[in-house]
């Protein structure tokens, strides 16, 4: 059967695109037409952006709760705000396997070195969310015993509230995803010297 060829309009309609794909699969598409097909059918991107896209869609949070905010944090994996829809459902019990540390609750001066160590044990790329008023600004426990979390570790996203609703935390996580996929190249971590703090056990 002879294939009738005709000039395609500038914006191809669905039918003509279908014909072009069929030709391509048959191997009869050549030269200019082939190039045009490739232009339209193949998406080009940089490796960085592809990796960022993947990272942003599979953030594994650390199983780590500090206070009452942790109750709200637990409910984001439940049915109502099912965070598994975005690929964040796997709470890892080891900092070595986690990408995200959600500081859910008040941080005391005694707990701060412990949290810093857990954060340092996580592998790059790693992110931190400060959840709730206590963690960001010591909140209602504004006394000698507490310390705001960004005094001792880098924080990507602050989620306000006392405690924040699960929806608010989900919004914070989506903000973090947006940041990872689109805006983390602004390099605030490099600027504040907040990279390269992994704890490595010598000889292990």
């Amino acid at each position: 059967m002879e294939i009738k060829r005709e000039a395609l309009p500038q914006e191809m309609d669905f039918r003509s695109r279908q014909l072009m794909s069929r030709d391509m699969l048959r191997g009869t598409l050549e030269d200019e037409d082939l190039e045009r097909f490739a232009e339209q059918a193949v998406m080009t991107t940089t490796l960085d952006r592809a990796v960022a896209w993947a990272q942003g869609n599979s953030i594994y949070p650390m199983t780590f709760g500090l206070a009452c905010c942790a109750i709200e944090m637990m409910s984001i994996v439940a049915a109502r705000v099912d965070i598994a829809r975005f690929g964040f459902e796997a709470f890892r019990a080891s900092p070595r396997q986690a990408d995200l540390l959600i500081l859910s609750g008040r941080v005391s001066t005694k707990m701060a070195p412990v949290i810093r160590r857990i954060y340092d044990q996580m592998l790059e790329p790693k992110f931190a969310i400060s959840m709730g008023a206590c963690c960001s600004s010591t909140g209602v426990f504004n006394n000698y015993a507490l310390v705001p979390s960004d005094k001792f570790m880098p924080i990507d996203v602050h989620v306000p509230g006392c405690p924040p609703r699960p929806e608010a935390l989900a919004h914070g996580i989506l903000k973090l995803r947006d940041k990872i996929q689109h805006h983390d190249r602004e390099g605030w971590r490099e600027r504040y010297d907040a990279v390269g703090t992994e704890e490595v056990i010598p000889g292990a």
Partner: protein, 169 residues
């Protein structure tokens, strides 16, 4: 809780023993409270204990800054047969925060009094072992006072844990 009338009956009994011991009464939202003279706390507490309030449920400090006298010591007493509660408040000045210890009446008030001393600097006279209970022994200041400067506590990581208070732990 005694009701408002019952509170006045108790206060009158206390005034009968020593007219200057009771400074006032408050009945607010179902809670009965008697303000007492801090120098006469032992007498008042002994009398209430005879009356049935023989359990010290809580002993804690309050800083009423900027009111004077600034510091308060609150005793929450419980009558376990009548299931009745009453609060005693004694106010002491910041210059001379002294009040008699009730460890002779309730040995269990040892730790609450130490905590009150640790956080507010109230000196309990007659306490067997009055030293800090929560903060490091060489900590300076009383952290729950309202004028205590916050935000300057060092975070003790491994690298600097010997540079600050508590270095001889």
């Amino acid at each position: 809780m005694p009701d408002a009338a019952g509170l006045e009956v108790i206060a009158e009994e206390l005034r009968g023993a020593d007219p200057s011991a009771v400074l006032g009464t408050t009945f607010d939202r179902g809670r009965a409270e008697i303000q007492i003279d801090p120098s006469k706390n032992i007498e008042v507490i002994e009398q209430l204990r005879e009356r049935g309030f023989n359990f010290l449920a809580s002993l804690h400090g309050v800083d009423y800054y900027p009111q004077e006298p600034r510091l308060g010591v609150v005793y929450e007493l419980l009558d376990m047969t009548e299931v009745d509660r009453i609060s005693l408040k004694a106010r002491v000045s910041i210059e001379d925060p002294r009040i008699a210890s009730v460890t002779s009446i309730w040995p269990g008030s040892d730790f609450p009094e130490r905590e009150c001393f640790d956080m507010f600097g109230v000196v309990f006279e007659g306490h067997p072992d009055l030293r800090r209970i929560l903060m490091p022994e060489d900590f300076e200041g009383f952290p729950q006072r309202r004028d205590f400067p916050i935000g300057g506590e060092p975070i003790l990581f491994t690298y600097n844990e010997t540079d600050h208070y508590g270095k001889d732990r």
